[in-house]
């Protein structure tokens, strides 16, 4: 049996500026001597802070009772010695047992409180986890699949591989990949429980039982290092406020020699004829609107730089344009209508835009729909596909 080296290494860190002590990885010591350094680091941290010490265990994947007791002991003692300090233990909704275990400390010392880190901490999260997105994702994937199906093999997709689709949404992509390419193992992760529930239903409906859908936070996953030949992350780097952190996670779980595959947009390049100007104005505004919520929907052409900065080699970038002529023009129009609903109907309103602005903003989407359905019209949505190999 060779599982050695798969575990996520244990790390303890203290950041004095944010008054945050964080524990991550797997910690299963035989005796507390093995973690003595980390214990003293916690004690020093307590000596340095004023007011609140945040203890971040979001990325704590495993901790045995020996370690738990040792750390808990220090914090409980500090509550006695320093009644003026509060402790906030930040756990993750993904790793449920940490919340239960650390939660007991509050019953012993009310100075210790527990916060469960969740989606509300991401600026744009509420929009993208919204269930009204589900129907858009479905049609979008149907449209992009026509292209990606032939593109994927150029980026390392083949039968028999192990793959992960991170930020899988409603999981249509992995179902299509499963049918077309037959990978040996598929893990699909998302942070929307509604989307995952939907995905599991769809898979069950197709009689597919071997896709492992999992609830998780893409920027701190429970998945172990160096596991997958192919890691995809579609249309999602662009909605993260820290795409580099997400990419570092994709890199981590990818096997050396395996590839990470990302797709992203450049919304301002959506186009259509007739009424090109109105359309162009609106999509320029889409880009600005997303950046207001710390999302970069102009990321597509920056993929090469992001992959290079993350340490990938043999980077391949290509782009394709989904158009109204690919298949069903009505599908194209439906997607635009859904965008209009969320972007103009929710996000723009949330930003506090005037009704004149919103009206003009909506007009561009309407014109894009018109271009898509017009007998002589042309409407396009460009996508950038990029992948890089993790060095061996």
């Amino acid at each position: 049996m060779s599982t050695a080296g798969l575990s996520i290494p244990f790390k303890a860190e203290f950041d004095v500026n944010s008054q945050e002590f964080s524990l991550s990885g797997v910690v299963r010591p035989r005796s507390i001597d093995e973690i003595a350094v980390n214990i003293s680091m916690l004690k020093e941290a307590i000596d340095q802070v004023r007011g609140v010490l945040y203890i971040n265990v979001k990325r704590l994947v495993q901790m045995n009772n020996t370690a738990f007791h040792a750390f808990a002991r220090v914090v409980l003692d500090a509550c006695q010695a320093k009644p003026d300090i509060r402790f906030v233990i930040v756990t993750s909704s993904v790793v449920g047992w940490t919340t239960r275990m650390f939660g007991h400390l509050n019953k012993i010392e009310p100075q210790i409180t527990i916060e469960v880190y969740d989606s509300k901490f991401y600026p744009g999260q509420s929009f993208v986890e919204n269930t009204s997105f589900i129907s858009i994702l479905r049609t979008q994937t149907k449209m992009t699949w026509r292209h990606e199906r032939t593109i994927l093999p150029r980026h390392g997709m083949r039968s028999g591989i192990t793959m992960a689709d991170i930020c899988c949404g409603i999981g249509d992509f992995v179902v299509l990949v499963q049918k077309e390419f037959q990978p040996a193992r598929i893990v699909a992760l998302d942070h929307s429980k509604a989307s995952l529930a939907y995905a599991r239903d769809v898979a069950a409906g197709f009689g597919i039982t071997d896709i492992e859908y999992t609830y998780g936070d893409a920027s701190e996953m429970l998945l172990e290092d160096n596991q997958f030949d192919f890691v995809s992350c579609r249309h999602s780097l662009q909605i993260f406020n820290r795409p580099d952190a997400l990419l570092a996670e994709l890199y981590r779980i990818c096997k050396p020699g395996g590839r990470v595959y990302i797709t992203n947009e450049k919304n301002s390049h959506c186009l259509g004829e007739p009424r090109s100007q109105s359309i162009q104005w609106t999509y320029n505004e889409v880009a600005k609107l997303f950046s207001h919520f710390e999302m970069d929907v102009e990321l597509g052409p920056k993929s090469r730089r992001y992959l290079a900065d993350a340490g990938f080699e043999d980077i391949v970038v290509e782009s394709f344009m989904v158009t109204n002529l690919d298949g069903d023009a009505q599908d194209f129009a439906d997607v635009i209508a859904a965008w209009e609903n969320v972007y103009a109907g929710e996000m723009s309103v949330k930003r506090g835009d005037s009704s004149e602005f919103i009206q003009r903003f909506r007009q561009g989407f309407q014109d894009h729909i018109l271009a898509a359905l017009h007998p002589k019209g042309y409407a396009g949505w460009p996508i950038w596909v990029a992948s890089g190999r993790k060095p061996r």
Binding site: R28, I32, H69, V95, R100, M101, K107, I108, Y213, Y215
Partner: protein, 172 residues
């Protein structure tokens, strides 16, 4: 072992995996606890609703049990770990050799998990001792993992811990 008494219970639990090892080999390296629990957890979780998180939970619980046998076991004989499933529950059966005073300790620790004041007892032990007593490990499993723990008769010097973990309900 009383087979006649055991059969009806076993009938409903379907075996998933079974591992046996010389106790001496097991005791030669502390990391066996971590490696075995990670390995077994991954195998048995793949067809659960959320395999990754199920494996994480399960590994956490199983590791504690293996650590208990590491600390309390004696080197002669074999350690056996079998996992069964019934509906939303996994059952772990862990058999290992130990000295007779350890048997006494285990049977008390197990019965403590069923006491009404188990939580109070658990909180007390977190707020006092520097290192956890092994007794606390069982309370941890009962309280944080909703485990039901019992001892099954097995031929001395072996002892068998039977732990039911309803994790599917806790995870998803």
């Amino acid at each position: 072992m009383d087979v006649a008494e055991k059969a009806p219970v076993e009938a409903t639990f379907e075996p998933l995996v079974q591992i046996e090892m010389e106790m001496e080999t097991f005791l030669s390296n502390w990391h066996h606890c971590d490696q075995l629990s990670t390995f077994i957890a991954r195998i048995i979780s793949h067809n659960r609703t959320d395999p990754v998180r199920h494996a994480n939970f399960f590994s956490s619980a199983l590791n504690e049990l293996l650590e208990v046998s590491f600390r309390g076991g004696s080197p002669d004989g074999q350690i056996g770990c079998a996992v069964y499933r019934h509906g939303r529950t996994e059952r772990v059966k862990l058999t290992f050799p130990c000295l007779s005073r350890q048997r006494q300790f285990f049977s008390e620790a197990v019965s403590n998990t069923r006491r009404e004041d188990a939580l109070t007892h658990y909180l007390d032990s977190i707020s006092t001792g520097l290192t956890p007593s092994r007794d606390v490990v069982f309370l941890d499993l009962a309280i944080n993992f909703d485990a039901q723990i019992r001892l099954e008769n097995s031929a001395p010097p072996s002892i068998t811990l039977v732990v039911d973990l309803p994790l599917e309900g806790v995870v998803s």
